[in-house]
């Protein structure tokens, strides 16, 4: 009896110790993040106002703004999403539902997993050689968007496959048993049921892409740009224009990089302001991802 008590007391002690250690570890993470954010807030908030958002960069720190870089970021993300999402989701569906499992698909699978771990600058080099020199797409919004699309494609594929895998096999069997074709199963069942997981993965991938600097510098994104790409809508028919795709661009992280590397302290404050905008956008994206996941989990629980 007393033996039992001793053993139990020992285990409780272990629990207690791990509790303390765990709290400490968690605190290290939270405190660091908190400190970083406060620092950024203190510096950045002083600069954050309407003119900062609507001005082009300038030689004078006080007049410099982030208009061209946030528009650039937005357009790049648009191109990235519009290409990576359909490509990645289709590839994920193909690999998971259509492809026969043999050594070829195994090889592809291993490669995709590896691609997700390739340093982003390598993608930049590849895009420089392929898109800029080979296909002559220029150092444009299109090139930038496609580069980041390549970068996040493996993440989107993996996320799609993971989401498909959470769907119980019984659901597929039920759908097939009613006489559905493969495409009908995908279209009416697998896609809607995996949407939550896929969307979460896509958003996480986009929030990674939005902060990327290295591959875009490699393909030759500008660090100083004082004009906006042409508008996508025009006054003459057909009213839509894709001219903006060929426009040179800059993005928020590159703008920050440029400002931070200047000796003038005022520019560093500008960088903090731009960083704040970037972080807010990223957090917003993550919040949307969490919201989607939460809502889907509430609706579908296997």
């Amino acid at each position: 009896m007393s033996d039992f008590k001793r053993i139990i007391a020992k285990r409780k002690r272990q629990d207690f110790i791990f509790n303390i250690v765990g709290i400490m570890c968690t605190l290290v993470g939270i405190v660091t993040l908190g400190a970083l954010l406060t620092d950024l807030l203190m510096d950045g908030l002083t600069r954050l106002n309407w003119t900062f958002l609507t001005s082009f960069p300038s030689r004078f720190a006080a007049r410099a703004g982030i208009l061209s870089s946030w528009v650039g970021t937005l357009l790049i993300m648009l191109v990235t999403a519009l290409t990576a999402v359909p490509l990645g989701v289709s590839a994920g569906i193909y690999l998971e539902e259509y492809a026969r499992k043999n050594w070829v698909t195994n090889l592809i699978e291993i490669n995709i997993a590896n691609l997700a771990g390739v340093p982003s600058i390598i993608y930049g080099l590849m895009a420089l050689g392929l898109l800029v020199y080979q296909f002559k797409l220029g150092q444009s919004v299109l090139t930038g968007g496609l580069t980041l699309a390549f970068l996040i494609l493996p993440i989107v594929i993996v996320a799609t496959r993971e989401a498909l895998r959470t769907i119980p096999q019984g659901i597929r069997e039920a759908a097939y048993a009613l006489g559905s074709s493969k495409w009908q199963v995908v279209r009416h069942h697998l896609l809607p049921y995996s949407l939550g997981g896929t969307m979460t993965g896509i958003i996480i991938a986009l929030s990674r892409a939005i902060g990327e600097t290295a591959p875009l510098i490699t393909i030759g994104a500008l660090t100083f740009i004082a004009f906006l790409p042409p508008l996508p809508v025009t006054t003459q028919p057909p009213f839509l224009s894709i001219e903006w795709l060929w426009s040179p661009f800059s993005v928020l992280p590159i703008q920050m990089f440029n400002w931070v590397s200047r000796p003038d302290q005022d520019f560093v404050v500008n960088a903090a302001g731009a960083g704040l905008v970037l972080i807010v956008v990223t957090l917003l994206l993550n919040a949307i991802a969490i919201l989607i996941r939460y809502r889907v989990r509430k609706r579908i629980k296997w």
Binding site: G170, A175, A177, L178, G179, H189
Partner: protein, 292 residues
């Protein structure tokens, strides 16, 4: 040793039985069972020399049996003996998985088409069969959409769709419980209600053969009784095959009972005969619970 001999003899006996009831001149017992429905039973499906393989594992060994039209055939046998495997040959669900292989024939009457022949389109077979699975597998859609899905695949729409959904839900003894929540997710239903929803979904498409894989294992006695009555009524329109672990259930709902063991068909007989006077010792042992 003696056991394997017994099984050998068993499959012989069983063959003669299935041959018999395929013929117009049937034994008195078979005829009696047939008269419970209309006239003499017509054959709906004939299984001939069916072998089935999961990769290297042979799960069905030389199965020969007939399924009478407008009758209920129950398949019983210990866990892992191949009941589900046999059932799943009928709607070609095995085709979804690599390394599965059929040998032999399942002839569907009156067309004479070989269900598992390579020339037969599995999709067409699945349009003509319905299956209620061992585990409830309602779609995470609304109650209405669950039942409507198979109908929509067949081009039913509008008022007709609504009516058929309602009719199916009534048949599955679920309408009264869900008529005010047709738009709610099927996952808000209880486990037993979900299983009845799956049954309604299977009924809606008016199949030629209804395949039930232990449809009531998740249900309470009241819901079970409802389903059993339903199965009994259903045979006016369709041929029913039901896998069950419950002997009383087999006795209550079926006209014929097949006993399987280790991938082989041991005995097939009119249910009454099977339960009162089985020809084979192994069957008797299983039915009376003195098994193994």
């Amino acid at each position: 040793m003696s056991a394997s001999l017994e099984i050998g003899i068993a499959s012989l006996t069983q063959m003669t039985i299935s041959d018999q009831h395929a013929q117009p001149q049937v034994s008195s017992e078979v005829a009696e069972a047939g008269q419970k429905t209309v006239g003499s039973p017509k054959i709906k499906a004939e299984v001939e020399g069916l072998n089935f393989f999961y990769g290297k594992l042979q799960a069905l060994k030389n199965i020969n049996m007939g399924f009478n039209a407008n009758q209920v055939t129950a398949i019983i046998g210990p866990s892992g003996c191949g009941k589900s495997t046999l059932l799943r040959c009928f709607n070609r669900i095995h085709d979804l998985y690599p390394e599965t292989r059929y040998e032999g024939k399942i002839i569907l009457q009156p067309s004479g088409i070989n269900l598992i022949g390579p020339e037969t389109d599995p999709l067409e077979m699945r349009m003509r069969m319905s299956m209620v699975f061992q585990k409830p597998n309602a779609f995470p859609k609304s109650v209405f959409d669950n039942v409507a899905f198979g109908l929509r695949l067949r081009g039913v729409a509008g008022k007709e769709l609504k009516d058929q959904v309602e009719q199916s839900l009534r048949s599955a003894a679920l309408w009264d419980e869900v008529k005010d929540r047709l738009r709610e997710s099927a996952y808000t239903l209880s486990g037993g209600q979900q299983q009845r929803l799956c049954i309604a979904r299977a009924l809606a498409t008016e199949p030629e053969i209804l395949l039930f894989d232990e449809p009531t294992s998740a249900l309470d006695p009241i819901a079970t009784a409802k389903i059993e009555n339903l199965i009994f009524d259903l045979k006016r329109e369709v041929t029913v095959v039901i896998v069950t672990h419950n002997m009383q259930q087999a006795a209550r709902v079926s006209d014929f009972t097949a006993f399987m063991y280790l991938g082989e068909l041991i005995e097939l007989a009119p249910t009454k005969v099977m339960f009162e006077n089985p020809a084979i010792k192994l069957t008797e042992e299983y039915i009376t619970g003195h098994f193994g």
